[in-house]
Every structure is written in C-alpha cells, then in structure tokens.
Amino acid sequence: MTNTPVILTRDLTKSYASLKAVQGLNLSVEPNCITAFLGQNGAGKSTTIKMLLGMIRPSSGDGTVLGKRITDAGENREMRRKVAYVAENKPLYGYMSVEQTVRFASSFYPDWRTDVANRLLSQYKLPHRRKVKSLSKGMRTKLALLLAFARRPDLLILDEPSEGLDPVGIEHLLQTLVAQSAEGVSIFFSSHQIAEVERIADHVCILDNGRLLVNASLDRLRQSYRRIDLVFPFPPPEREFRIVGVEKIRINGNEMSVFASMNSEAVVERARNLKVVSVEVAPVGLRDIFLETVKEN
C-alpha cells in the first residue's frame, strides 16, 4: 500500500470565455479512501472530473490520476484502463437489454468480476431482458454503477451517483461503495446528498465558484468545527474574537454566536476573560459546514 495520491492537481484551471469554471485547483486525493466532492450546482465539480479523465483540456495547470499525467494522451489511455467512471447522465445503449449491456461491457475488461455483476444484478433487482431505453432513471443509474463496480478498477470516479435513486437504492449504493473500498478501491465521488456523505466519507472536498474551499478528513472537520453561543452582561466587542479559525460572528444585543473552523477553545478563553455569563459549545454537522462555507464565499 503506497501513500501516493490517486488524484493530484496543480493550479488546474478551466475558463470558458469570461467564465472561470475551475480556478487554480490544488486537489490531493488519498488512496484507499472514500473522498466526497461537494459543491453547489455549477460549482465546477463535473468540469473538474472531466479534466481529470482527459475529456476536456485544462486552460492551464496540470495534474495526475494514478500517477499518469492528465494532459498526455498516451498516459491518459493507460490511466483510463484502471479508472471506472460513472458520468452524471449515465450514457448507455438504449437498444440493448440489461443482460446484453453487461455481457458487452464484460468483454472489454480482463478483470471483470462476474460474481460482483451477478450479485448486484439481483441486489439491484434489474430486469435482465428489459431494453435499456425502457428502464427508469433509477434503474439506468443502477446499471451504470454495476458496470463500474464489476470492472475491479483501482479508482472509481462517480459524478452524482445517487441522483435518481430512491432511499433503498441509495442504501444499496452506499453499501456497495463501502464493499468496494474494503477491497482496496479508491473512491472519488461528487454528491449533493450530504447526509450520505457524512456517513461513509473519509475525506471531504468542498468546491465553490471553481475554488477549493475545504479539503480535509471528515474526522478533523468533526473535531474542529464548533458553534459557540455566548451571552455577556454587555454588548460584546466583535473585534476581540476575530482570530484564526473564526469564520463568522453574529451579534444580537448581549448575545454572540461564533462559527469556528478551529480554535474554539481560544474563543471560549477570550469570552471567559470578558466575564461571559453563559457559554454553549456545539458540534457542527457537515450540512452546516457546507452551507456556511459556501455562503461566506
């Protein structure tokens, strides 16, 4: 097991005319981990993923996926053999049946896992003989995921994999991701499902307006983000609390609410020195971390 990042980018940038879709992205994704890629619609997630896969060319900057340069066509081909990608729109051949699609895909990959494909076919309850064009959106998603999971890739890149899935489908998806991770597959996936991300991710990257705002382990986020609610006997001086880690301060009369990405102990200490009357420190969930981070930007 090595610790070389499976994805590494340096100042990766993509501009369309005056629009900067991705700006100076320095991304590092660790191997053997589940990494979630969060961002609002239009934040640049899909553009980033497409650059990583060599589907669109960066305007500037560069990067590697599994050690292969993304801007080199030859290296890119080699990399694509070991990376399974499920796109947002899940392109499949509509005229093929589910069974034909699986057989067709299996013929491309020497490491194809028939056992995985069969298990997922029954777990996902996919109708073998139904034509792809008459599958529901959720079924198409499940089929596309099955094709990626059965390939035994080194790295799975999934763009909004839970889109269109019902709660049972999402639970199956998460279980499969966990199982793949247990087999040593590195996983990088974009998602809007923060509650699901919070359950299975080791690392979280938050992208907003093409910029990477957070790139940290979920354990670190859990331990360091705090909301501190304080009550003073007088209107508190805001500037006393503008220290490293304090992301936002709200004051309402004698009350103050501090949103801190770290250093919550120092905030409490300062409050104590100012004769604070009441202190409440509460952990912050990933949803609030995400919302506060993109709001600040």
């Binding site: 279980q175 966990v178 919070e198 359950r199 859990r222 331990q223 705090r226 200490e269 420190v281």
Partner: protein, 131 residues
C-alpha cells in the same frame, strides 16, 4: 453486538466505535476472547468507511483491548489492566450518579446538567484550570 454510530455528534466515528466496544467489554456484553466482526463485514453492516473500523480496531489493539489475528479477525482481550480500568469506570459512574442526584435536588434540570457536562468536556484542561 449492536453498534450505533452517529455522524452528527462532532465526534469521529472511529472514536464512537472504540467507546462502544470498550463499553461492551465493561458491561460484559462482550466477553474475554470473543470475536468481533471483520472490518469489511462491520463496515457494510454499519455503512461506514472500512477505514473507520480499521482505525478503531488498531487503536484498541494498541490499548491492549483487542488482538488482531491476521486473516482470522479481531478478538477481545480483557486483561487484568483492563479489568482494573473497568472497576475504575464503575466507581466513577457511581460518583457521577450521586453528583447528578445532588444537582437535581438543587433544582437543576437534566437538560441544564447535560449541557454543563458537555461544556466541561469540550473545554481543554488548561482553560478549566485558569478559571
């Protein structure tokens, strides 16, 4: 053994799992020598990253509570040292129970007591010392 991890408590999941395994050993829900599920099995059951389970197991091994045997899983080892820890915890619990009872008698609501406990636990020792 049933474990329940809560992703929104502000505590890493591996720490929660460690505490629950410790607690199970303390209460006797898990016995000396008992086998815990494999990393993959438990990860799929709890639907969490396998790294969460691996980290909890390896920390518990470091603490001498688990023995990881390659290929055959994780086994609980409640040694003498752990036993004395268990006794300490039980004594501490009795003292906490008395304290909580006193606070209630003084008119504090459970919610207020809970918040006070959480606040104290969240502050590092040096700040507490300066008060």
């Amino acid at each position: 053994m049933f474990f329940k991890l809560n992703p929104t408590t502000g505590q890493p999941l591996y720490l929660q799992l460690m505490q629950q395994i410790r607690h199970a050993a303390e209460t006797g829900a898990l016995q000396d020598g008992e086998q815990l599920p494999g990393i993959r099995t438990l990860a799929e059951e709890l639907v969490v990253s396998p790294n969460t389970i691996a980290k909890a197991y390896s920390e518990l091994e470091h603490d001498g509570i688990l023995e990881l045997r390659h290929g055959s899983g994780a086994f609980l080892t409640v040694r003498r040292r752990t036993r004395s820890l268990i006794d300490h915890v039980q004594v501490a619990r009795r003292r906490l129970r008395d304290l909580i009872e006193r606070l209630r008698e003084e008119g504090l609501l459970d919610e207020e007591i809970r918040r006070a406990f959480e606040a104290e636990l969240l502050y590092p020792a040096e700040i507490v010392g300066k008060r």
